[in-house]
Symmetry: C3
Subunit: 444 residues, 3 copies
């Protein structure tokens, strides 16, 4: 599948997405602050993104928008003045939301503020302390073991002060105001699968959809700080949530693992069935996960008082790969081909949503004579029948206003795209008529 | 199981059905014409059949009854005057509905009109061209390869002209006007499993039912040209279709394969459950197929605007045996014992439909005292309980107006016939009362 | 798990239950008579039991309370005056409800009145003839074979006369008049698994519940003669059956086999789901049986006109162990540890019923901020999350008034007790409110 963008510059979508990950990798993001702004600024080159700022202290359901955190530098120097831990080498070295600090202390005093992963002694862990004012450093376990007793100079040159929470939103209007919501989080520093892969696939999916000549649905892309960003957005858009007919969260979509789709809380929503269909017909291994109230922002979208039909597309599931939340979730951990595979599955799922309609067979009593219309081989008696010819009969038999094309494709065990094509031809020949859904608010 | 017919002449039902296949085999049938009439005439010796003629040009839903086709002779002669392809040797040699033709042509000119099966070089394929005027010959691939260059004299001595479509219908009235529909197709020439096996089992099932002292349901047997015959019949009987409570198509019921029952479009109709029960308790391998809009006339009976509870009993499923639509589907391919096995399953399914009633336990609070009524061993304490005694308790416990005897048999994993017998005894002892279905139009 | 009783006397509940079995073992019980009275008298030492007497001849639905049977002695003496069959050695030797008899007869005349188990030649079978006046002796097959021809003096010193049927009932009032019914049968003579194990577990379960500071439900324990006792009790309490919200029959709960729970007729009653949850999380093998109208008094409780949500807890299922209804179902066949395991499963199921409530999340739009309330680790970013912390999120997400805590525990695949604890803490923090069931008649 080639997009306009790809033809234009000769690079595959996968390569372009990986390039975007490379560009965004060095930035130190958190749930607030300039790292998020820089990230959204970069995305605006690709996607018609509006950037929103919500002041610290704003109430959002049970939560409050926190102070804004920014950081310029941070280090621990040994008694010789050498930086033994240096924020400039990796922004994972500082616990996210560490309060400003300048102090000299012994290793024993410093030790409770140091975090490492003994099971992966070369990796730097990723830690935050958003809602409890604290500070700390993360470092590899080997580095930790090499620290000598003595005095250390600690510097965290950060600010934690009234400011705002920043998020990005892109809206692609369609024939209907019914929306598909696509959300990813933008609050992690130099981690690639979690969350740069989601940002990249979301951005290039928006780019693909923006280039389409027509969209049945409107599309809303959200680039949110995790948890507090989703809660803030939801609390500010309560009155328009009933427009959201389908949605999914994108995260962990660049690693080598098989695709995993996590169902929405409803479990049988159209988006759930769409992704399951796409994965089943992908010809590759995949997994379907039932909804659980753990994971990413689907937790908020699927909270009981919101309960939107929002699933989550991943490869390695949340927390289930060793590199998760460590420096090993790096530029080698996500690959162009896996990003592209995830992107293609999103495109296929969206095409399914766009094309999944219900029809009424206008000739429901017995089969219509397809041969007369040139829709069927005229000469009978051969044992083979092509999948395409079978699709005509499946679509005609089950187009009783009740079954959608996805229902029919599932029942016939045929790919949606073939069933869709058969329906289009039958429609052209006047054998079907569309049964309109009740859209919540329709402009068509 | 012995029928009156069998006792009368000393032959098993299977042998009698195979004899009928032998008698009908030579006739050249098609969707119209004298072959169908000759076939129905033969069946009238066995079944009280009315023969109907529907004029060419009659509209039937989206279709039109075609011209009538008849054929006297057909051949291809080589330059020596020898018939190298001869309709008199096999009526499969001529493509069904071939238009009249007398012409001399080279092998190269003739070649596009010749059809063979390269994978089965000794078999003659079966082909038709009903709705596109054309002509052709079928022959074995070896015969095709043996043809020398040179001029050939082609003769198709057929007529294709206004006439009629012929079908047969037998009606066996019962206590109710609610009907069981049994349909088979009568349009194939010298092919045995497809369709003579279905004709034979249907005819002997009708014979069996006609000899019963009483029938709860009325039975309608149809002998129809495939597709157009079913469409024609349905279009002429729309107003009485709501009488059809159960139905099945009979086809491919004489070969050695295990029985396959294909469900009606509804999938959970009583006929579906009846055949599944019969096959499960048959002690032999079997398969259940979900409905798909491919196959035989169940396609029409189960079209969305008709949607009758009509399944299909087969052995080898449609198109899934190598001999399908070839000269190898011959008198050796169907055997008396397989015909008889299929017939017995139909008899058992019909007995189940006849006996499948719902009852109300008239003593629903705790068990009634069966021992006092002589229905139960009086001496307790033994570990064994016969299936029959268990049936009493199952029938009593679940005769709550909701569960049919089939429901109970399925839940108890007991054969329907045992449960039926227990219910009859309980009824005799005044412990049950029948809960009447709402018949569509009842005469009882 | 230790009960007050256990702490008091230093014996495990299992040992105490086995002691009770030992004390009750010698008594000759039947469906009426002094053996039942002696048994209930013994139970009154443990449980606040009321003893009820229902006169012979009383109508009970389709049944009549039979004459009362008592027996003092019974024997068969050979010609030397030696007791070759002696009721004083085992009360199984006499067929239950044998009518009085004093007669001398030859072995050939006696033979039809003798019953043995040829497959288990050392065991005495257990037999009764409640509703057909008869008499007989049971003996081991080896003993039967050893009998010499000659005259035998038969004596059955029994009475069968107007009297009464005796049963026991203990009622433990709770906050609600909604009841949990626990029933066992008390009509078998010296048999241990069937029925002394059920009596013992029931009595010690009653003792455990009586000692609780508060009970949500009221509990009714029944000690009934099998079949006729249950029918009699039901016929006398029809007007209050709608108070019974849950129930189970206890029988065969002392042998070494894995626990088996037999579902109520409804199959998805709360008691069915409670026991399945307890068995699934027991860490031991178990089996779930669908309801069938065979077995113990669940047959009556689940008859179609009664249809209470009453299941049955067993170890070996009814009739499915060789020792069933024979002298081999003795004091060695039931063991303290298996009695205790069954008792613990009952306690766990009852705790589940007591604690299984539905809640409404008072903060249903997005997650509440648990960290702020000290309910959640404040420092994020670690890959591990404890089952307890996950429980908070599960309870919050699914407390939408529809899902009970058992629903949530099942969906989260977490033990009920953990989910219950999480709900209690959330309730304390004002994050949940209980959704009251509609009790049938509530006093709270």
């Amino acid at each position: 599948m080639k997009t306009g963008a790809e033809l234009a510059n000769g690079h595959s979508v996968g390569a372009q997405m990986h390039n975007l990950v490379v560009r965004l990798y060095p930035t130190c993001r958190s749930i607030t602050g300039d790292g998020v702004r820089a990230t959204l600024n970069e995305l605006q080159q690709l996607v018609p993104l509006e950037v929103h700022e919500v002041p610290s202290g704003t109430a959002a359901f049970d939560w409050t928008v926190p102070k804004e955190w920014n950081i310029r530098d941070a280090y621990v120097k040994d008694s010789t003045g050498r930086r033994v831990i240096d924020f400039r080498m990796s922004n994972l070295h500082v616990v996210g939301y560490s309060v400003p600090r300048r102090i000299t202390m012994t290793l024993a005093e410093l030790r409770p503020h140091l975090f490492s992963l003994p099971d992966h002694p070369d990796w730097i862990p990723y830690r935050t302390s958003y809602y409890q004012e604290d500070w700390g450093f993360c470092l590899s376990h080997n580095q930790l073991l090499s620290l000598q007793d003595g005095n250390y100079e600690v510097c965290i040159d950060s600010t934690l002060a009234a400011g705002s929470l920043t998020y990005g939103e892109a809206y692609l209007p369609g024939q209907r105001t019914d929306e598909v919501l696509i959300s990813c989080h933008v609050c992690h520093p130099s981690l690639c699968n979690d969350n740069l892969s989601g940002i990249a696939v979301s951005a290039y999916l928006a780019r693909h959809l923006a280039a389409l000549p027509a969209r049945r649905y409107s599309y809303r892309f959200l680039y949110l700080p995790g948890t507090i960003g989703a809660i803030t957005w939801l609390s500010r858009h309560e009155e328009q949530l009933d427009r959201i007919r389908h949605g999914f969260v994108l995260t962990l979509v660049g690693d080598a693992a098989a695709s995993t789709y996590k169902q929405s809380r409803r479990g049988d929503a159209e988006i759930d069935r769409a992704f399951e269909h796409v994965l089943r017909h992908s010809g590759k291994p995949y997994a379907i996960q039932k909804f659980e109230p753990l994971g990413y922002d689907e937790r908020q979208f699927c909270s009981p008082g919101i309960n939107l039909p929002v699933g989550c597309l991943m490869r390695s599931p949340h927390g289930k790969y060793p590199e998760y939340h460590s420096s090993a979730d790096d530029l080698q951990h996500v690959r162009p081909e896996f990003l592209e595979d995830s992107w293609q599955k999103c495109v296929a799922a969206v095409e399914l949503l766009e094309g999944n309609r219900r029809y009424r067979n206008l000739n429901p009593k017995c089969e219509p004579q397809l041969g007369r219309r040139g829709l069927f081989r005229a000469m009978g008696g051969q044992p083979e029948q092509a999948a395409f010819e079978r699709s005509f009969l499946w679509v005609l038999n089950f187009s009783d206003s009740e079954h959608s094309l996805l229902d029919i494709a599932e029942r016939a065990r045929l790919p949606f795209s073939i069933v869709r094509r058969a329906a289009d031809l039958l429609l052209e020949h006047g054998l079907l008529e569309e049964v309109r859904d009740q859209p919540t608010r329709s402009s068509d």
